[in-house]
């Protein structure tokens, strides 16, 4: 019983539980949601892209920053992917992936440099680059678009191929998650990201390389958005200048729902990825169970607000518990 209680206090487990309930409930109403070949594949495949973005976003958010430009970075890198293939269909896929990831990293670096060195709030900087990067795609692509027939079959096939019943893109997402989780949890630099997010001033006073760490976080987020751009091209087979528009809000929503505090310092990439899977799956489940189109966004909104309120309540409770613990240890504090 206590184990169950402890598991429920973990945000990751709570989100995963809601996810299981959503999938189970939808499957009861519409067995094909989970039990058909396509249903199983889509269940794993559709959230992969947002999950990769959420992992990148979580790395930035734990440092008490945010990257709103990920949707535009994704669009730019997806269009780059398509353009490279259209120009040279025989290009090895690995090379194109590397190019898109590198392009994403450069765009992330720009965000990071302005945030870390010019000390402009990340919200403002990345809101600016959200439009600037989108403007870049628009100028570049104009009203052109990349169609499925412009890209090689071997590449498009990656968007749907499965290995032992698991889609390739889902495997990519899990690998990204595993590497990021290991890094954040065990490495010195990873722990420092949390320290910076908990109290930036203390981190500076303590002598942590704050600027370098923030720069790294933005580069990682940009690179992952670049990777997501490749995944977008492979999965959807069409890329226009609007690819990924508005996705940043889904991603930030996923991170918040997954228990990464928007003011930094706590939460895990596992939680963020689970939050992404939950949001995407709810979006897929609502039309399947017959909820009208117009209500679907509202449900997602309610979910995000619930998550934030829950965070607030839990944080207050923890603060009170800590205060009580301190008072017990130091009775004279209370007397004073």
């Amino acid at each position: 019983m206590r184990a169950v209680g402890a598991a429920l206090r973990s945000r990751e487990a709570a989100v995963a539980l809601v996810l299981v309930l959503v999938v189970a409930g939808t499957t009861v109403l519409q067995p094909g949601f989970l039990l058909s070949a396509g249903g199983w594949r889509d269940l794993l495949l559709t959230p992969s892209l947002v999950a990769v973005l959420a992992v990148g976003q979580a790395i930035v958010v734990v440092t008490r920053n945010v990257d709103l430009s990920v949707g535009s970075v994704l669009g730019l890198c997806a269009y780059l992917t398509g353009t490279l293939f259209a120009a040279a269909p025989d290009l090895p896929v690995v090379l194109v992936v590397a190019a898109a990831v590198a392009a994403g990293a450069v765009l992330g670096l720009v965000n990071g440099v302005v945030v870390a060195f010019a000390r402009v709030p990340a919200l403002v900087v990345t809101l600016g680059t959200l439009y600037a990067y989108r403007g870049l795609v628009l100028t570049w692509a104009g009203s052109d678009r990349i169609d499925a027939s412009d890209m090689p079959h071997a590449f498009l096939d990656l968007g749907v191929r499965q290995v032992l019943g698991v889609p390739v893109l889902a495997i990519v997402a899990v690998l990204v998650l595993a590497v990021a989780a290991h890094y954040l949890h065990t490495s010195r630099a990873g722990r420092q990201l949390y320290a910076i997010g908990s109290d930036p001033d203390a981190a500076v006073l303590y002598g942590l390389p704050v600027r370098r760490r923030i720069l790294t976080a933005f580069v990682a987020c940009g690179a992952l958005a670049g990777l997501a751009g490749v995944m977008f091209a492979a999965r959807y087979g069409t890329v226009s200048s609007g690819a990924g528009t508005g996705l940043e809000l889904t991603v930030v929503g996923a991170v918040v729902v997954g228990g990464v505090a928007i003011f930094g310092g706590s939460g895990t990439v596992l939680g963020a990825a689970t939050g992404a899977v939950l949001l995407v799956t709810i979006n897929r489940a609502l039309p399947v169970v017959g909820v009208p189109d117009f209500w679907q966004r509202a449900v997602v909104g309610v979910l995000i607000i619930t998550a934030i309120v829950l965070d607030r309540v839990l944080a207050d409770r923890r603060a009170r518990a800590l205060a009580r613990a301190r008072d017990v240890r130091n009775p004279q504090e209370v007397a004073r």
């Binding site: 100028t139 169609d147 499925a148 027939s149 226009s240 609007g242 897929r284």
Partner: protein, 336 residues
């Protein structure tokens, strides 16, 4: 960015217009020389509007008009307002617009017309009081019945079908859907329309909505998508799923976007008019309004280059013609 570049051109063009306006009274033979026309599609990155703009450019070349294309990134109801305002301020001679919403841009168009700008809508109309001429690609009846004819042929005359539309308030989509519903009830008693989904003319949303439709309705036999983005996304999803060959996909698409899916057998046939001709006719109509050949009153006629003579109908509507069916036998002849 595209927007600011166009603004610069418009400023220059506005100045040119002021000059010709002075000279025009003395020399009628000058015709359209130096006249500026602004083309405002629903959104950029849409190959359909790319083709209509190149048709308009062809006409502009023949007429000696200066033609500029501006447009929003997404086809949301009010996204065209700033572009209309800018055109009005620059005093362009005519605005050729495909409306994202029948009323949301009405005030902006009123203002532009008060400033002397002629307004031609094409592809998607506003309420008649907001424009001078609507260049209609085909009658709504013709489009609705052509699509039902195609889907009925492809599913063998009976079974469940669904419609994948653009945004829920897209004028043309809703008009076609209403007529299809009426015609289904009267002429196709064995075909049941089970759901209308909205993909917002976004690749990703349309793709995911297709997946949801197929899950929610296991007996679905066909999807009709009267929008180019939607039908390509639906075909892409079906071509990579176990529904390929079992669920028919048809609607309004462009040959370049659908080529892949016609060749791999996912799609048998789909329909469209030639958007190039549509843009061409719209530009001729704009020119005829500017030089006073027509005012928008029923019964007036004007010449439209290689397309011949057109007559203005009730409510200032000019009709292009009947929809055209593309299939494996003729798709190779088209490139737009």
């Amino acid at each position: 960015m595209k927007f600011s570049r166009s603004v610069a051109v418009l400023v220059a063009a506005g100045a040119a217009l002021a000059l010709t306006a002075c000279g025009g009274a003395a020399d009628d033979a000058g015709g359209g020389d130096g006249v500026t026309v602004t083309m405002l599609p629903k959104n950029l990155g849409n190959p359909y509007f790319e083709t209509s703009t190149s048709g308009a450019e062809e006409a502009a070349g023949e007429l000696g008009l200066a033609l500029e294309e501006v447009g929003p990134e997404t086809s949301t109801p009010d996204s065209q307002v700033p572009f209309i305002n800018t055109s009005a301020q620059q005093g362009v001679a005519a605005l050729v617009v495909s409306a994202n919403d029948p009323r949301a841009i009405g005030d902006a168009l009123d203002e532009a017309r008060a400033a002397g700008t002629k307004v031609v809508t094409f592809d998607s109309d506003t309420d008649p009081e907001f424009r001078d001429i609507f260049v209609n690609q085909a009658t709504a009846e013709g489009i609705a019945s052509k699509q039902l004819e195609l889907i009925s042929e492809q599913i063998g005359g009976s079974g469940e079908i669904a419609i994948l539309s653009a945004s829920a308030n897209a004028t043309n989509q809703n008009a076609w859907i209403e007529l299809m519903e009426a015609q289904l009830a009267s002429d196709y008693p064995d075909i049941e329309l089970v759901e209308i989904a909205y993909g917002d003319d976004d690749d990703q949303a349309s793709f995911d909505k297709t997946a949801a439709l197929l899950q929610a309705h296991p007996d679905l036999k066909g999807i009709v998508s009267p929008t180019t983005v939607g039908v390509a996304a639906a075909a892409r999803y079906v071509s990579t799923s176990e529904f390929k060959g079992k669920v028919a996909v048809t609607g309004l698409g462009t040959p370049n976007q659908m080529r892949e899916y016609v060749e791999d057998g996912t799609v048998t046939a789909f329909a469209l008019w030639n958007p190039g001709d549509l843009g061409y006719l719209a530009a001729y109509a704009a020119s005829a309004l500017v030089d006073g050949t027509i005012t928008g009153a029923p019964g007036e006629t004007f010449e439209a280059g290689r397309l011949g003579e057109f007559t203005v109908g009730e409510d200032g509507v000019v009709l292009l013609g009947d929809p055209f069916v593309f299939d494996a036998s003729n798709i190779g002849d088209f490139d737009f």
